[in-house]
């Protein structure tokens, strides 16, 4: 039964950054991760990370305020404005710190960090390392955790929170390598488990982006915020949905329909291919719906040919490799078939700017959390930024709370109970009748989410979608755990994951159905306008143990910097 002052669940960028900060503050911290931290999904991020360094000659008068404005406008005014400004202000030192720790950013001739234009940004402020920025940032932080000898429990699957008298006191985790469950007791827990992309059929996300951390917090009574806002990336590879970075368009790539037309001229005449993701993705989808997909099919082209082999080798080498390996297309010579794919969960565990949730002792950072800085639509380059900024802040806040506590919390009381609950859940799963196939249900859910809560939404389709989810939840009770071995039991991990995924999906669906407006990524064909009077507010979804849809509450958006206005690009 390992004891630490602070447990960080998840070893991606947010979790690693949180752990480093907490350790620097003097707290005994440990990271629990389902995969080696270097394998986390943060590493799949490609195009870059935003900060108003003003290194690009075209952006010499950039500032955190301008970055905040772009972020807020991009969010369709659902971002909490002070939080957005906090992020963009912290951004500049955060990037320099990553550089000081060794991150290999691409460089200008004068040796400063290169910055490229990105969607929805008034200035070229996206710092990058070729098109593998996430990989480079992630490995930099992995290196720093080794340097600091931060304790890492690798290939431990966290399955439940330990909550004593309303305070989060640790987790129960499955030891994948040795088998068995263990109780990790602590004075605080930071969730940094990433997004829930796998709840959708077509997603750019990794296989482990299942919303596990959000589900655990949700099941423990912590609300999920703004879950209905789901980002669809404009350019997923057609057959595999693997990400083609926004950097492709930042470097000058075109989007073309079957007539070879740069159709973005009709949707965002000024920004063209560099409109924000929600608008660009819907424009592509509209072309497809109206029959202008390539060969009338459901994809369009991302054309990089005019950039030339040399520029592709310098700026977009990973993109070229991915297109060749996974689509059989060499972007030097051929346009790349792409279509929108789920990419990012704007919503997540409700937190403040220091990662604190409504449950004392529980914190969240990165994609599993929701501060909120992305509102209804995240700008490209702001998610990597969010991880290092809010990871640091959550680590610092957790450490301060632990070290500043006047009276000790005392021994953990309910650890045994939580462990027993996990074991009885497993026993129950194994004892089910087994008339349903759990993996078939999982695929049905993912298809339903994409079909009913995709780029365009309406009342009837969403209502039917909620009914499907509720029905799947009933059928799930008849799906059985088929393998009960102790070591590397994927059947058990994936079953436990799915029990959370379906509830996270239901939170997304329920929030979407009720919100009778179009805002950012939430685009309704029956309510096409933004409705600030009714809906300039955050959704909070509370889990209902009876299995029904969540209880929804609302809270106002924090404004104060910029008056909401119509978004035009």
């Amino acid at each position: 039964m390992p004891d630490h002052q602070l447990i960080v669940v998840g070893g991606g960028l947010a979790g690693l950054r949180a752990a480093i900060e907490a350790q620097e503050e003097g707290v005994d911290v440990a990271i629990l991760s389902q995969v080696h931290p270097g394998r986390s999904h943060s590493g799949a991020a490609q195009g870059g990370v935003n900060a108003a360094l003003a290194n690009n000659p075209d952006g010499h008068d950039d500032s955190p305020e301008k970055h905040a404005f772009d972020t807020i406008k991009g969010s369709d005014y659902l971002a909490d404005q002070p939080a957005a400004l906090q992020m963009t202000t912290d951004a500049v030192p955060a990037i320099y710190q990553m550089e000081h720790w060794g991150c290999p950013f691409s460089r200008y001739d004068d040796g400063r960090i290169s910055q490229r234009p990105f969607g929805g940004a008034g200035y070229p402020r996206t710092c990058y390392g070729a098109d593998k920025t996430g990989h480079y940032l992630l490995h930099t932080l992995v290196e720093q955790t080794y340097r600091r000898q931060i304790r890492q429990y690798i290939e431990w699957f966290v399955c439940r929170l330990i909550v004593d008298d309303g305070i989060c006191r640790g987790v129960i985790a499955y030891n994948m390598t040795k088998g068995g469950f263990e109780e990790f007791r602590a004075e605080g827990v930071i969730m940094a488990t990433g997004g829930a992309g796998r709840t959708f059929a077509k997603t750019t996300n990794s296989m482990i982006s299942t919303g596990g951390g959000a589900a655990m917090a949700y099941h423990a009574g912590v609300p999920l915020k703004d879950m209905e806002f789901v980002q669809f990336h404009p350019t997923g590879l057609y057959t595999t949905h693997i990400l083609m970075t926004e950097g492709c368009r930042g470097e000058g790539g075109y989007l073309l329909n079957k007539d070879g037309e740069r159709f973005m001229a009709r949707y965002a005449p000024k920004a063209m291919e560099l409109a924000p993701r929600d608008i660009t993705a819907r424009s592509i989808q509209t072309e497809i719906i109206e029959g202008r997909g390539i060969d009338g099919k459901d994809y369009v082209y991302l054309d990089l040919r005019h950039l030339g082999a040399e520029k592709l080798a310098d700026r977009l080498p990973g993109t070229r490799d991915l297109a060749i390996h996974f689509e059989g297309v060499d972007p030097v010579y051929e346009p790349i078939p792409i279509a929108p794919a789920q990419h990012y969960s704007m919503g997540g565990i409700d937190t403040d700017v220091d990662g604190r949730t409504l449950m004392p002792g529980l914190y969240a950072a990165g994609e599993c959390g929701c501060v909120t800085v992305h509102g209804a639509n995240r700008l490209g380059g702001n998610s990597l930024l969010e991880t290092i900024v809010f990871g640091r802040r959550a680590g610092a806040a957790a450490a301060r709370d632990i070290l500043g506590r006047e009276r000790p919390l005392g021994p953990v009381k309910s650890g045994g109970e939580a462990g027993a609950a996990v074991e009885s859940t497993i026993a129950e799963l194994a004892a089910r009748e087994g008339s349903e196939d759990f993996y078939a249900i999982r695929e049905e859910m993912r298809e339903a989410m994409f079909a009913h809560f995709g780029l365009f939404r309406d009342e009837a389709t969403m209502k039917a979608g909620v009914d499907i989810l509720l029905d799947l939840k009933q059928r799930l009770k008849k799906a059985k755990l088929r393998y009960t071995g102790s070591v590397w039991n994927l059947d058990m991990i994936r079953t436990m994951e799915f029990e959370g995924m379906v509830d996270v999906a239901l939170a997304t669906a329920s929030g979407a159905l009720v919100r009778t407006e179009s805002r950012g990524s939430h685009a309704r064909t029956d309510y096409t306008a933004r409705d600030d009077e009714r809906w300039l507010r955050h959704t909070l979804a509370y889990y209902q143990p009876d299995g029904g849809p969540p209880r929804l509450e609302y809270e106002p958006v924090e404004l104060g910097l910029y008056e909401p206005q119509e978004r035009k690009y």
Partner: protein
């Protein structure tokens, strides 16, 4: 669409049974990868199958395996492109197996850690970035793309023969920092790789280059380190 037989090595050390192979037939179409086929087997045929996975887009390094006698990432390997009706899937050879296709990473990451895989700076840091010219940055292009999948490590005969040899991946990481214009390790990192466990055990067999799914060249890095060690020892140079 084609029915492909996956001949998969199964092993559970706890069972006391020796390793064995099992055949699974999967209907394969279009772009299906070996990783997707393994999921199809785990979901539809045998829930006990164990393998690593994460990004499914060749950047996380989880799913390096030995597939039809070659080192490959399962996620990057299109089944039909192999053009054979039978695909043998085995864990990385020459490393201990935890279960089925999952191998024990402990030694691999212990060696990684031993070379001090982080940027070492001694002088005062500026308020902004430490500058680096594009030419200096260019030298990092190859080694920073390593995904630590360990295909090279598993393929290296010098690792097979000498369990303490650091192996290609750890040494490539050492090279990544030694060659970085911002690194000020001086002699701090040198003893970690300029020793009997380090670069001199590389006999330029170059299996690592052939094995690397990212087409990197650990050998090149190791040879640079050897030269650097000589330059430092005999000529008193800094790198």
């Amino acid at each position: 669409m084609a029915d492909i037989t996956f001949h998969v090595r199964r092993f559970d050390p706890a069972s006391g049974e020796p390793p064995h192979y099992e055949d699974f037939v999967v209907s394969v179409e279009g772009s299906m990868t070996v990783l997707e086929a393994l999921f199809a087997i785990q979901e539809q045929q045998d829930g006990s199958l164990a393998f690593r996975y994460c990004c499914r887009s060749s950047i996380c390094g989880s799913c390096a395996m030995y597939i039809n006698g070659r080192y490959r990432l399962a996620c990057q390997t299109n089944v039909l492109h192999m053009g054979v009706p039978r695909v043998t899937v085995e864990p990385l050879p020459h490393v201990p197996v935890v279960r089925d296709l999952v191998w024990d990473m402990d030694d691999f990451f212990e060696k990684y850690e031993s070379i001090k895989p982080w940027l070492i700076r001694n002088s005062k840091l500026p308020d902004t970035e430490v500058t680096q010219s594009p030419e200096e940055r260019h030298k990092l292009n190859m080694p920073i793309d390593c995904i630590l999948c360990a295909a090279c490590y598993s393929s290296c005969p010098s690792v097979w023969g000498e369990e303490h040899f650091l192996g290609p991946a750890a040494l490539l990481k050492a090279y990544r920092f030694e060659v970085d214009s911002r690194d000020e390790a001086g002699k701090e990192r040198l003893p970690t790789w300029d020793n009997e466990r380090g670069v001199y055990r590389c006999h330029t067999i170059t299996n690592c280059i052939e094995a690397c799914p990212k087409e990197l060249s650990p050998t090149e890095g190791i040879q640079w380190l050897k030269g650097s060690a000589v330059r430092r020892r005999l000529l008193g140079r800094k790198k």
